[in-house]
Assembly symmetry: C3
Homo-oligomer: 324 residues x 3
């Protein structure tokens, strides 16, 4: 079964959320519209709806995460779910019990929805292939493959500020090669017919298949930023600094760090995004991060609305009617 079919049920409704690849424009738009209604929930005095009441969501983080895990847990609480959060020590799981045994044991606990982060690409698909009908899997980051809820919150942020994607020039800057975020973003931006998607990175960090993804490649930041409407910075994984792929932090900042001067090459009303946590002074200058073109903190809040939206749409599929 292909990834495409795996995410959608026989009626074309969302049953898992594994990757942007394999989704269509209609589903993406439904998620964004639903998230918009939840953004107003967040502004209410009481930020709670009973959509997942009596449902159990298990958060399985095989990799540590604070931001993604916290926003998922808050989204689940605001939907009134029962929550089981497990930090799974991978060394322990390899000892006695395989990943598949872990899946089946948790499933036997009548878990309705799994949120999974795992260092192996394809692990969320693997989970989805092995859970029984009616159980859903959400990918919270699988290796260097995809991080689709992050991409959705990025789309949401862009739409919030810029509306029509078909007129936008968007630049993604940084370590594209190792970024599951970038891969998901590119798929999503293409699905919404973004006018132009640019990828800006040192030559050593440009993956070979980016051109096939339908993007423009730049290895010069200043040229790449010219006239763009949105600048998406990626986090530089410091653990990769030691490899031969990257120069020193200083040198990286000199060539690819986003300064105000460089940002001025973009459109005057361009927005600056970053999935966080940012390395101030490495991929982005502090003053730009805190500047008035930055929407980085807004992204975090939108992340909760988007995750609430995805979970609600998936649950809605089962026919559960909830009035507030």
């Amino acid at each position: 079964m292909s990834a495409k079919n795996l995410q959608l049920d026989e009626n074309g409704k969302l049953q898992h959320f594994l990757s942007i690849e394999g989704l269509n424009q209609q589903i993406i738009t439904e998620i964004l519209d639903t998230a918009e209604s939840f953004t107003s929930v967040a502004d209410r005095v009481i930020k709670k709806v009973p959509i997942l009441r009596g449902k159990t969501v298990a958060n399985l983080f095989f990799e540590p995460s604070t931001r993604t895990r916290s926003t998922f847990e808050l989204a689940e609480q605001r939907l009134s779910a029962d929550i089981l959060s497990l930090n799974v020590d991978t060394s322990a799981t390899t000892k006695g019990e395989s990943l598949l045994d872990t899946i089946h044991n948790l499933e036997a606990m009548q878990i309705d929805m799994f949120v999974i982060r795992h260092k192996d690409s394809g692990s969320a698909h693997f989970f989805a292939q092995h859970v029984r009908p009616g159980v859903s899997v959400l990918n919270a980051g699988d290796g260097q493959h995809e991080h689709p809820t992050q991409a959705m919150l990025d789309l949401y942020t862009i739409r919030h500020h810029k509306q029509d994607f078909t007129r936008l020039k968007i630049a993604i800057v940084g370590d594209i090669m190792h970024s599951r975020v970038a891969r998901s973003q590119i798929h999503a931006l293409n699905l919404l017919n973004t006018a132009e998607v640019r990828v800006i990175a040192p030559k050593t960090l440009l993956p070979v298949d980016t051109e096939s993804l339908g993007v423009q490649l730049y290895d010069d930041l200043e040229r790449g930023l010219r006239d763009v409407d949105v600048v998406i910075m990626l986090r530089l994984q410091k653990e990769r600094m030691s490899s031969a792929l990257l120069p020193s932090e200083n040198e990286y900042f000199n060539q690819f760090g986003l300064t105000q001067e460089r940002l001025d090459r973009a459109n005057p009303d361009a927005i600056v995004m970053h999935p966080g946590p940012a390395n101030r002074g490495v991929e982005i200058e502090s003053s730009v991060m805190d500047g008035n073109q930055s929407v980085i903190l807004q992204q975090v809040g939108f992340g909760i609305s988007v995750r609430m939206a995805v979970m609600s749409i998936i649950v809605g599929r089962t026919g559960l009617q909830v009035s507030e």
Copy 2:
């Protein structure tokens, strides 16, 4: 005060759940019947009842556990309890504060129910002796002594598939000597007048008092399995493999591993159980674990219903009336 009296109040109602030893057939049956009603709760769209609403349950795990702890936490959430989960670092508790001080401090937080796992046999009884009236203690495994909710879920699984215990031949296979699960199971099966309970283990792993427990001893797996209706495999504690008590994993599997061929000595409709996590290829062949006689995953789900039942019965004792 004996363990027997400690679990029951002056009216013979359950006030703690510490060991199968000391319970009677009536209470066991009440738990199984109540669990049956909660199994249907698990199948509902909304798996939640307000029986523990406004009550606080503290999960104190002095030993790590994923399965038991997760099923307890889910049971508590589905009963709508407030939950305090503490992974107690034993080294820390020995430093400044005794176990008794820990008990009294938590009790002062108006905890209504304690779920305790501890490496010392008798620790749950110790807790129960020192909490004030109205506070209940549930044993989630104490040393090599008992693990009574595990035994109850095993009983539940057997009754679900085989009904009448008085006609059943049941074999327990593996490291009986170090197993708190086996000890609880044997007591429980005897209480329900099981026709025959067999214990199958290498001679070095048969404890001296098993005969007094009213069981048949076998040190040959194939003979022991003949005509049984239920096969309960125990987990082989790998940390004991290094001791002189056990041969190598390979050799163990050769002599005591459950293969399909060996299982064929049992009744054709015999079921296979395991408390988990199983060591595939050590105490049980993978194909048997996943085969159609295996009810191992069902046990996990029943574990939630059984734990909900025990907690509900204990709370019901206090006279709290709850309508859903």
Copy 3:
């Protein structure tokens, strides 16, 4: 902006709870009165009120804590809050993200209230200075500065037993110099016009500014205890034993350990308090801790009521009307 103004809004209402210093008698009394109403909640069969329903509280513990964290989490659950609890590894935060970035990211998740424990004095004030309007910060202990909810539960305990502070002689015994608890207590007792506050400690542990705090200094325990109504023992931080400031545990007990014989110098109905966890046989004799003048365990339960009170008062400020 001074600490005083920071805690109160333009109408003099509590918007943060950072330190006893800067509060007035009216607010202290309001907290104590509100806590009294929650103490009766704790005695109910169902210990839950919906005052924080749909609000999110984040517990950020940059220092480990069991007692304070557990009582905060229970208070939040009993107020029906959504809860995000993070044990923040300080080494991790210094790596990629500053404390300020952590604040802003969490704030972007629409957190309504932060509970913060941090090893740096002034960190809670720093937080409060940087959150946006409408978001509140509660200090759960900042370095050697203050631990104001602990001081409030101490006040509550004293009032519960002794009513009128203006007639009381109260002794605080132990390592005043390093104790954020003592600092908060002294401010609070002065605010309620306590007749006499005595500080009893080895000369090496008396901070230089205690006299300016309006207390009487004693370096002799037996003289200091004479005729007091309340004895507050402090925890001896064992990690400081190795320093030159303190004699051996034995010697300390010989000079400053609270024995029954010494306690008999106080008024016959004097009560004994301790913030916990106590070192039995170091700062306090076991029999005194468990004796009938000890109210140490009561303090723990009152801690929940006091924390519920502070959170309720802060939320009430926003105009949220809740009927039960």
